[in-house]
Every structure is written in structure tokens, then in C-alpha cells.
Symmetry: C2
DNA sequence: CATGCAGCATTGTGATCACAAATGTTCGTC
DNA sequence: GACGAACATTTGTGATCACAATGCTGCATG
């Protein structure tokens, strides 16, 4: 596999899952050393991640994980609340019983990692729950945009993990599952909105 | 200004405004020569544009303007129909008379370039009309996502320019202006939806 | 003890090069 | 004339280097 792609993918997952805190400084040489490559692929990976909002550039070109303002957090939450109900809506006709059972299993894992206080595990399994639904929507461009938003929120979610009422997520997810089982499109969209916006709305206050 | 940034900005505008057709091949050395720089800044600009969907990469790393499938076009139109009414809605309370007059002037330019059959001019002024509204929304992340969609659609809009009923755009825009003047949020959102989705829906058939 | 400045280390940028893979071309064969 | 193989060219990738600018450290000064 190409070096710059390997660096990109690894960093992307780390950022999206909240393995890095906001405001952490990265250097091209440091990334290169970490992955055993030269500056060149590190530079390309960083450039790509910056373009996706996963990393921030200072005026002088220094690289760091983004430290989002409350306004920006609310804005990204609004984008989630726009895109994700639509994705869920498109997935609904294709959501069979096997999918719902798989989602239920993922949701059990969410409860487990919440009980353990595992921030990264919580973010990862929570996103896995959502992605599993949206993959059924057959809308790759829309899903990519939603994932870009998750990516931008990764470090922030880690930072605010303590402030989130994480025990509520499995309940919200159960509402999603109920709507999926019932084929209730409006209920599904509302449940998704509650889950994605509700979780982030109150942690900026 | 930084070389790679200059290359990026220039190519980005060219792509967004439909100055390049879909499927055009680009090379790093060619871009470098065109801008009087080495491969390095050309590479970074291309990497960034690929990350934004403005350019496509073949399996072997060759760069070209994207040639979108009908499914992808409809999907991107749906994203526009989700994001842009929200942006307009947020701009509405801040839309004063001076803004509306400026929009009206832009719309006159749209009519002129349509009359001239100027595809690039049509795309540019049409996007300028929308951006002028959305800038008032004070939602930079959401606007950035909308612009990313425009960017991805740039070459395709050029290709399908002949099939678009471009003379209808100024009318749709007038409906937008009417709703803005009346402070009619629901009417505004509907007018935006008609404009962005309506224009693209019928050109994929 | 705080502050500002000089000197130093760190960092991103752009150019150049070697290399391998992919692409295009040419020529021969059927 | 069409097809295929060998060759030549083009192209992206990754490494390395020089350079300028930025950020940091420590020391002297008030």
C-alpha cells in the first residue's frame, strides 16, 4: 500500500475516534519518524486531513488537532442533524432484521464501553452504530460528508466525553431501533435527530 | 503567497466555475509548468483538491476532473437541497434591503450571461447569487460544505449546461428574492429547494 | 521577580532526483 | 488491416536537501 495513504488512514481513524485531544501539535518530521517514512508522505497525509477539517493549520503552517469553538460545535451538530436523518431515511427500506440485530449487538457494546468509562471505545462504537445504518442508504457521497463531520468532531468529543450523558446514548439508540423495526420514517428521523443533536447540544453550555 | 496555495486556489476556481470539462487528465509536471513551480506544490494542491472531490484519482494515481454518474449527481443535488435551505433560513433574519438589492443586481447579470450562452459565466454568477445569501448565515462550516458540493459539480454543470433550462434560473431567483423581502422562511426554503434541485434533477434524465 | 532580546533549535516549503509502474507507440506477424 | 509484443515515454511516489521563517530558551537588564 502507498505510504502516504497508510499514514492518512491511520491518523484519520485516530482523530475520528478521539484518540487525540484538541490542540495537540504535530510535525511532519515527527509523523514521518512515527511511521518510518520521510516527510513527503507525511506532508501529503496532513494536507489531505487538513482539507477534511481533521487537522488545523496555524498561520505559519504549523499542524495541530482542531480546538473547536462552541459556535463551530453547534454548527457541526446542525449539519449532522441535517444529513443523518436523511441517510437513515434512505436506509429504512433496506433495513432488514439481520441489520437490526447487528445494530442491537453494537448497541450492547456501547453500553459496555460506557460502563467502563472508555471514551475512545464509546466514540468508536457509537459511530459504528450510525455508520452501519447509513451504509444501507446507498448514498456514498452523503455518507462521506457525514463522516467528515465526525472527523472534525473527534478530538472535541474526547475532550467533552466527561460532560456527555453517555448513559443516555444506548436509550436513544433503542428508539432508533424501534423506529427501524416499525418502518416509521418520521419516528426514525426524529430519533436520529435526538441522538446526534441531543448529545452535542448540551455539552457546549 | 505560498505557491501550493496559489495553485490550489486557481484550480479550485476553474473547476468550480466549470472551466474544465469532466474527464480531463492533469499531470503534476504539467500543472507545475503551467504555474512556474516544481512538482511539489502542484502535488499538494492536487492532493487537497482530491480530498474535496474536485479531482479524481485513478487506481494508478492519475489525476483527472471527475465524470460523475447520474446517481452521484442526484445525490449531490440532494445534499444541496438539504444544506442550502438551512443556510438561507439562517440568513433570512440578517437579510436587509441592501443585500436584496445586491442580489437583484447579480440576478440581472445571470440573465445577461444566459442570453450570451456563456456557460462559465452562468455557473459563476449563479453561485455568486447563492453565496451572497449564505454568507449572511454566519455558518462558515456549513457554507464550506455547500461549496464543496458546488466544486464537485463544476465540470458536470459545464457538460450539462446545454441541457439545463437556464432561462428559468432568474425566475427561481426572483422567487427567492420575494420570499426574502417578505421574511417568509418556509417560502424561502421552498424557493431555494426548487432552484438547486430543480435545475439538476431534470438534466440527469 | 518580571520583561525583553539575542541566539538557537525546530519546522514548513519548494526543488531536485532516482525509481518503478503505467501508458502510449511502433513495428512485426498473421 | 487487426492484433499483440517489445520498446520508449510519461507519470506518480518517496527521499533528500537548502533555505527562510517561526517559536523557544536562556540570559541579561530593569
Amino acid at each position: 500500500m502507498l505510504a502516504h495513504d497508510r499514514v492518512y488512514r491511520t491518523l484519520r481513524v485516530q482523530i475520528m475516534h478521539g484518540e487525540l485531544e484538541p490542540g495537540i501539535s504535530l510535525t511532519l518530521r515527527g509523523i514521518g519518524k512515527q511511521f518510518g517514512v520521510s516527510m513527503t508522505p507525511a506532508r501529503e497525509a496532513v494536507r489531505r486531513l487538513v482539507a477534511e477539517g481533521a487537522l488545523s493549520l496555524s498561520a505559519s503552517g504549523r499542524v495541530s488537532t482542531p480546538d473547536l469553538s462552541n459556535e463551530r460545535i453547534e454548527e457541526l451538530a446542525s449539519v449532522r442533524a441535517l444529513l443523518e436523518p436523511e441517510l437513515a431515511s434512505r436506509a429504512l427500506p433496506r433495513a432488514h432484521i439481520a441489520l437490526i440485530e447487528r445494530l442491537s449487538a453494537i448497541n450492547s457494546t456501547v453500553s459496555e464501553v460506557v460502563a467502563k468509562g472508555d471514551a475512545v471505545g464509546y466514540i468508536r462504537t457509537n459511530l459504528e452504530f450510525h455508520r452501519t445504518i447509513y451504509l444501507r442508504a446507498q448514498a456514498p457521497a452523503m455518507l462521506a460528508m457525514a463522516e467528515t463531520v465526525w472527523l472534525q468532531l473527534g478530538p472535541t468529543m474526547r475532550k467533552l466525553y466527561g460532560r456527555m450523558q453517555r448513559t443516555e446514548a444506548p436509550f436513544q439508540h433503542r428508539a432508533i431501533l424501534t423506529a427501524l423495526r416499525a418502518g416509521d420514517e418520521q419516528g426514525l428521523k426524529a430519533a436520529i435527530r435526538n441522538d446526534v443533536a441531543g448529545g452535542l447540544r448540551m455539552l457546549v453550555g
